[in-house]
């Protein structure tokens, strides 16, 4: 028996006038997995998720959710699906609780006590009776998660859930998403933050300018990642550059901001730093510029590279 996919989107395209927002993308999310859709702003992530929710009609291609399509099942496609697109929005003149009660009405009612449960989960119980107009951005994000959980979903779709949050809010939101994912939910998470996706997801699709730039597992992505990069500040950059010529595993160049940019495997970079010490070149600063996956993400979504073929070549170079 063919397994039912939580999301089966095939060849989906959407144009807004002359702009092709989504270009024949295919995304398949298996039930029970945590799937990331990654891309810079304007990559087509949100348009894709809006099509998934039926807010936007695709120009071509098909989207099936738990084996139901909008054409056949109408709003029944959303049975077992919940989430929010971009920042969740509510009626500011209603309290948080009244908003949830109203949305529960639209869902055909909820079991007794569920509203209290979901408010507890997102830590909003003590503020549930305040009007949403007075909520902070983070509180609205959490109310959005509560509104989603109210549907007791099998598939949770979260579009940039940490967007706009302060560091503490980001930490709390990630912890919440991890907890939900661990409970067995299928999670489809969109983000422009590689770190967030790397931390949470099993599989990932990277979108750029509406097209798929990569999809596969996080492990596959790691194998494609280039060496990490570091910024070094030393007491004698010229001598450090000269020493680098004898270390073939590292690539060292002088940054316009008078720092040394070093790329290479961690072991090679460590050996180079040790050589600097032995040569009495003091190290004043050592900073990792980006993680390997971040570097790969930027390579795959760098708009200065005109074609996906170029991006693919760059990824292959990184592999070598």
């Amino acid at each position: 028996m063919t397994p039912t996919l939580a999301v089966d989107a095939t060849g989906v395209t959407k144009n807004f006038g002359p702009v092709r927002a989504v270009d024949e993308i295919t995304v398949q999310v298996a039930a029970g997995e945590v799937y990331g859709v990654l891309g810079p702003n304007g990559a087509g992530k949100t348009t894709f998720l809006r099509m998934l929710f039926g807010l936007i009609r695709p120009d071509c291609g098909s989207i099936r959710v738990f084996d139901k399509s909008w054409d056949q099942a109408g709003v029944g496609v959303l049975d077992g699906v919940a989430g929010f697109i971009e920042s969740p929005r509510f009626y500011p003149y209603l309290t948080g609780r009244a908003n949830l009660e109203g949305l529960a009405l639209l869902d055909g009612g909820t079991r007794a006590g569920l509203i209290k449960e979901v408010l507890d989960i997102v830590d909003l119980t003590d503020r549930a009776d305040r009007k949403v107009g007075g909520y902070s951005y983070g509180m609205r994000q959490r109310l959005g998660v509560a509104a989603s959980l109210l549907r007791e979903p099998k598939l949770l779709v979260l579009d940039e859930p940490a967007n706009g949050l302060d560091p503490a809010g980001i930490r709390d939101m990630r912890a919440l998403v991890k907890r939900l994912a661990a409970s067995g939910l299928t999670v489809l998470l969109s983000s422009h933050d590689m770190g967030e996706v790397e931390e949470i997801c099993d599989n990932v699709t990277i979108l750029n300018r509406g097209s798929v730039a990569f999809h596969g597992t996080i492990a596959q992505l790691r194998t494609m990642a280039p060496d990490p990069g570091y910024l070094l500040a030393t007491t004698d950059d010229r001598r450090a550059l000269a020493l680098a010529e004898h270390h073939h595993g590292v690539d060292v160049s002088l940054d316009p901001d008078a720092a040394l940019v070093v790329t290479g495997r961690r072991s090679e970079v460590s050996a180079f730093v040790a050589a600097l010490m032995r040569a009495d070149v003091e190290l004043l600063g050592f900073t990792e510029t980006q993680t390997p996956l971040e570097a790969l993400f930027f390579m795959l979504t760098d708009d200065t590279r005109p074609t996906s073929a170029h991006r693919s070549n760059q990824a292959q170079e990184a592999l070598r």
């Binding site: 398949q28 298996a30 029970g32 807010l55 959710v65 009626y91 009405l105 299928t186 699709t205």
Partner: protein, 293 residues
């Protein structure tokens, strides 16, 4: 275009196939719309205005030494409560009723754009059609309520402050107090159809422009333009088709003999405006891509 195959635990797979869930339907969507309306001060302010505003107006007109003779029933307005009620009705149909109904109807769809909440309600278990009809019924229900309150308050305050003497009809006939009360009530009732026509007009503007200010103000402006056009000569073909002409259909109730042709005509014209407005609004809501919010 390439596909990605994902890996999953078969046990998890079996347990995560979506289940059919209950859906809210039109009734639930209607209850939510009414709750939202009740939570907003604007609706209560309009209802309070409909109840309270006629009282000082009646007091002020009653206190004037010279009645407004150049308006229909104005000549008797300071002596007869029924005449004053009809004078206020004539004034209300100029722009007051379109405004009162548009305050809710012109905002009820556009406010979803204003608050960015289309995506909130359309990602639940209620269809676009159900949301549309729930909003439409709420706006129309509000229009009926505000018209009823305005009529009841105007009639009661006029009769209590000015009196309920027999009314002189448009043909000079005397209409007894009991009959006059029935006819005055019927006159207010005949404005329901064009009021609902303006409600539907406000709805389509609210849907189309996605801006509450446009949804509320434009029906009032259009109403005034229709009154202006209706006052011009040489447009006898167009005049019956104007929504504001339907507001005048009650005049025939106060002639001897009575004529009801304009009432039927007004009913049909109002229905046509309502159907066309709602049809256009429904088509927009059904086909629209929700990209904002």
């Amino acid at each position: 275009m390439t596909a990605v195959q994902t890996h999953m635990d078969p046990a998890v797979r079996e347990s995560t196939v979506a289940v059919e869930r209950r859906r809210g339907g039109l009734g639930a969507a209607l209850r939510f719309e009414v709750r939202k309306l009740r939570a907003q001060y604007r609706g209560w302010a309009v209802l309070a205005g409909a109840v309270l505003a006629p009282i000082p107006i009646v007091v002020i007109i009653n206190g004037q030494s010279r009645p407004p003779k150049d308006t229909l029933f104005g000549r008797f307005a300071t002596d007869n409560g029924f005449a004053l009620t009809l004078l206020i009705l004539g004034f209300a149909t100029q722009w007051v009723l379109p405004l009162l109904t548009a305050i809710v109807a012109g905002d009820i769809f556009a406010s979803e754009d204003q608050h960015g909440t289309w995506k909130t309600v359309l990602t639940r278990s209620t269809s676009r059609a159900q949301i549309f009809w729930a909003k439409t019924l709420t706006a129309c229900g509000f229009a009926v309520l505000v018209l009823t309150l305005l009529a009841a308050s105007t009639i009661a305050s006029s009769l209590l402050i000015v009196g309920h003497q027999p009314l002189t009809g448009l043909s000079g006939q005397t209409i007894g107090a009991g009959t006059a009360l029935q006819l005055v009530t019927a006159s207010w009732a005949t404005t329901l159809a064009p009021t609902l026509g303006f409600t539907c007009l406000a709805i389509v503007l609210s849907v189309w422009f996605r801006n509450p200010a446009v949804g509320i103000a434009t029906p009032v402006v259009l109403g005034m333009v229709m009154v202006l056009i209706g006052g011009l000569g040489g447009i006898e073909i167009i005049r019956p088709l104007l929504l504001t002409t339907s507001f005048e259909a009650w005049h025939g109730l106060f002639t001897q003999p009575r004529f009801t042709g304009p009432l039927v005509e007004g009913l049909l014209v109002s229905a046509a405006w309502s159907v066309l407005s709602l049809g256009a609004a429904f088509a927009i809501v059904r086909r629209r891509d929700i990209t904002g919010g």
